[in-house]
Amino acid sequence: MSSPFISTLVPASLLLGWELGAATTVIDEATFSRPSAIMRAGAMAIADGSLLTATYQTLEAASVGLLFGTVAGVALGLLLGLQRFLELASRPTVEMLRAVPAIAFTPLALLVFGFGLTMESVIVAYAACWPVMIATMAATRRIEPRLLEVAAVLEMTHSERLWTILAPAVFARVVVGLRVAIGFALVVSVTVEILFNPRGLGYSLILAQQSFKPDLMYAHIVWLALLGTIAGALSSQLDRFAAPGRP
């Protein structure tokens, strides 16, 4: 038997059991719906455009937040990695801020920015910033000091140092931090939408629950699982840039 066939055995059996369980009322359909109803609800949501609009809104916020979070993380990581005094001075503050879950800032962000893309992106950026910053800072500290001394002797400009010494040295680690941040971005954006922001997949999901449409709610969960898988596959492709020789 081929391995793809074996891999589909377990989920297919579970889905079939679920469908039969709901059909024979062993499983409460009002709570757990059934696979065929979920697929139908998902197909209808795709056909009327609501699922795709919500997907766009979630991915938009996750991407914008990830972009700003990554830029801020790299900048902070380089700065604190190169400036030992600054790193020491800011360490307690950074550690304290890093320990606060990004979602805890959402009530404040709602007051400042109101509903919408900005509020959600800011929260995602906050969550995405830390893994990138830590990875960048660790990589910067590992740079051979003699390289920096040579750069000083050669009177390299900041830009030259950045592109000839720093960027190649930290790139692989930044990619690792970015991969972690990509996972955070989707989770945080959907959570913000579920709890606070009336847009995107999280909002559609909670509205489906509040409207007593469990099939549509599960369709959103399945859709999010698919998106998460795609995001994971794409982020693993980043490794090719970080380590081109690796298969």
Partner: protein
């Protein structure tokens, strides 16, 4: 008229229409999915607010406590609220005012009630001692009035375990026995009883303790209301116009409401747009009794007087 003039006139007409649309003042209205909010939905959908010169938009906000920060940030201009959201907010210095009434409790037409597991055969409050009761929101209007009713029936609320249960999860939690009773709201209330999951035999706690009390209302930031008294007046007028229309056209109103609420119900709450300081006095007293607020509030200042 020459073709050139016709084109110019058409373009001018289009620009004029676009300018008129832009000139309309934005009125973003937010509310949780509840039948109580139907007059505002009808006011928007039937064009009353647009006719009054407002570009209204409706947003369903699943969690009511997210509405005050949205009002303060300017994402919403008017949002659904309750006395138990408004009182602690104002006590803590948040600039919120009530701009219109929503629904009131009406004995014989209760849209909120206590329903219990059929196997428990509960017919009075004293039987709730030691049981787990689900409420749609801890320290919500329904929760506080239920606690007040318990004390009036001789039950110490501390002898009851309160569990916050979202309306869509009430059925499964009742069926699984996780909770013994639940304070439910229409249409969930009727659905659970009709399905035999719960029975409604324990008396009508809300109308017993607070008949005629305001249950939901409309609020805005004080700053916005002061700057836009005409908008508040137009909103009140449109609510007043929508209520009789809903009552006369129940099926059509249900259809309009379903666009935003995603459900329809035959239940018709008692709507009242006029507010009075006395509406808050009862809630202020019970809010202090159950530690939701600590200080005395000037309830007359909670209501925006208008122009």
């Amino acid at each position: 008229m020459k073709p050139g003039y016709i084109t110019v006139a058409a373009i001018a007409g289009l620009i004029g229409t676009a300018q008129a649309a832009l000139a309309q003042e934005q009125l973003a209205i937010g509310f949780p999915p509840s039948i109580d909010m139907l007059p505002a939905i009808v006011a928007h959908e039937n064009g009353c607010l647009a006719d009054a010169g407002y570009a209204s938009s409706l947003t369903v906000i699943p969690i009511a406590t997210n509405i005050p920060p949205a009002l303060l940030s300017g994402s919403l201009q008017i949002g659904m609220s309750t006395p138990t959201i408004l009182l602690p907010a104002v006590e803590n210095g948040v600039d919120l005012v009530a701009v219109a009434g929503g629904t009131v409790m009406q004995a014989g037409n209760e849209g909120v009630s206590l329903i219990t597991r059929p196997d428990l055969k509960i017919t009075e409050g004293s039987q709730l001692k030691g049981l787990k009761v689900g409420v749609p929101g801890i320290m919500s209007v329904a929760d506080l009035v239920f606690r007040k009713w318990l004390t009036e029936t001789g039950v110490n609320p501390n002898d009851v375990t309160f569990i916050e249960v979202p309306l869509p999860r009430m059925a499964e939690m009742m069926k699984s026995g996780t909770i013994d009773a639940v304070v439910a709201i229409q249409p969930v209330l009727g659905g659970l009883v009709a399905a035999g999951i719960a029975e409604r035999q324990a008396g009508e706690f809300f109308s017993d303790a607070a008949d005629g009390a305001i249950m939901a209302l409309w609020s805005a930031s004080g700053e916005w209301a002061k700057a836009h008294p005409q908008a508040v007046a137009a909103f009140r007028t449109c609510l007043d116009a929508s209520i009789p229309w809903i009552i006369e056209n129940r099926a059509a109103a249900n259809e309009i409401g379903a666009k935003y609420l995603n459900f329809s119900t035959d239940f018709t709450p008692a709507w009242r747009t006029k507010l009075d300081a006395a509406d808050f006095d009862f809630y202020e007293t019970i809010s202090r009794e159950f530690d939701l607020v600590r200080s005395d509030a000037d309830t007359s200042k909670l209501i925006f007087a208008g122009e």
